[in-house]
Symmetry: C2
Subunit: 257 residues, 2 copies
DNA sequence: AATCGCTTGATTGTCGACAATGCAACTAAA
DNA sequence: TTTAGTTGCATTGTCGACAATCAAGCGATT
């Protein structure tokens, strides 16, 4: 059991350079001034471990075990667990402990329903709230992502980073702090968990770029309604894509329901 | 200072019977199986204190002081603070402590923008997801609320309780766990804080009942689009109502910005 | 043989004390 | 008088140990 864990570790570490690149990117751009306290650091570690599947979905979380593993007390660890619960990566029941969330078709549908609505709203607001500079920056970023993606075909992490970055910018552009908090802090880690564990990299890459460009163009034209519609469609397509993979993999090793 | 606190306490205690009624009602109907651990209990206490204004908006939270006041250690208190941050009642900065959130026009607008979108979505989903029994129950509840409200004119807590109850039922009717979590656990305490501290009880009471009835009727007719539209309008009207009070009170004792 | 109750083990919840960090007042120099 | 530096204090972050609660295994009883 411990041995198996080490094996999983080894596999994960091979992926780490790419991961770090992604995390660095995220940290640089996004509002993560965090790694100042020990709880913050271990939070990032465990978040990554859960999203990557290093800590299996549905498995029980043992506080003493994790404390030993990261070599710190249970106090900051519990702080980290509280935040993990906040972004729906674990579920706690009083006096019974915490479990990593299970992936399911129903959960995916619920999550993406919400994303459609919320990111649609973000687009609508962004169309009136973003400055011309911010919009130009996003357009420039899209081209940049496209070129790096062409250089490194098949590197799904780059696509992932680019996609997250685009959505992040638009959400920030809404200038609504509560909306930003929900999407960037509470929902996105779970979204990434579905995408990473379902191995998303497929043929949607180039299509996604086109859709991104159409959305930012609508925002640039200050057409909020169109931007909202396009974003909802974009996320809907993404959901169907993942749903296909999930229903297949679900039959393989019972991660569904 | 301590004396003033006692005075405030005395005033608050006078309101408590009504409060308990409200809380009981909420606990009975809503998913609050909580008060099992000490942290849960103190969480409810502090939540109430903040929403009621017993702990002033914008004031600093001292962990040792609160620990002494509620006669428990800092460990469960920090757990409670973590959850308070989750529902946006306090804001924490690392190594600097927590402050109670400030009420502002900008914050109100952002919050109600989000409510419009999310509760609109809830209505749309509820129109297809609620069972006939659930719908009938809500309709029955509305009449019940109306009669108790007529008996006790001016008792704002009853109106508050009835309003919260109605919205709660519709949100639950969406059957989307993430949506339910955001609205009922993360946003509603802040919404109540705005309403309570702005002293909302005015002439909107009877109009609100009519609007509620129209919404549930649309849901009963399985007309999701109409239900969504009516709910958005309903919340928008409520926002304007509070906004008026807030801008007035804001000028009086500077709670704005 | 099956079920109920008890006991044991482990896990979570809570506590008090220590360490580290940040804030503020005070001093001294320009 | 103002500003920079320093010192002291208060608050937060972290730690290890204890208490309460839950789960499971064993034994006794019907």
């Amino acid at each position: 059991m411990q041995l198996k864990s080490y094996l999983t570790n080894a596999i994960i570490w091979l992926k780490l350079p790419l991961l770090f690149n992604y995390v660095d990117n995220a940290m640089k751009n996004q509002h993560l001034p965090e790694p100042v306290t020990a709880a913050d650091r271990v939070l990032l570690e465990i978040q990554r471990a859960i999203v990557e599947g290093e800590i299996a979905a549905g498995s029980k979380i043992s506080e003493p075990e994790l404390a030993k593993r990261f070599d710190l007390s249970r106090a900051p660890l519990r702080e980290a667990l509280a935040r993990l619960e906040r972004c729906h990566l674990i579920e706690r029941t009083p006096n019974a402990g915490a479990r990593v969330v299970k992936l399911s078709v129903a959960g995916l549908v619920s999550l993406y329903q919400l994303r459609e609505t919320l990111e649609g709203m973000a687009c609508r607001l962004a169309a009136t709230q973003m400055t011309d500079e911010e919009i130009a920056e996003v357009q420039q970023l899209l081209d940049q992502h496209l070129s790096t993606q062409r250089v490194r075909e098949g590197e799904s992490y780059y696509q992932e980073a680019g996609d997250v970055d685009f959505h992040y910018r638009v959400i920030q552009g809404s200038k609504n702090p509560y909306l930003i908090n929900i999407l960037c802090d509470e929902l996105y880690y779970l979204v990434r968990m579905y995408r990473v564990q379902m191995g998303m990299n497929g043929p949607r890459v180039s299509r996604a770029f086109d859709e991104h460009k159409a959305i930012i163009n609508a925002i640039a034209n200050r057409d909020g309604e169109l931007a909202e519609l396009l974003m909802r469609r974009h996320i809907g397509a993404s959901r169907i894509n993942i749903e296909k993979h999930l229903s297949i993999k679900g039959k393989d090793h019972g991660t569904s329901t």
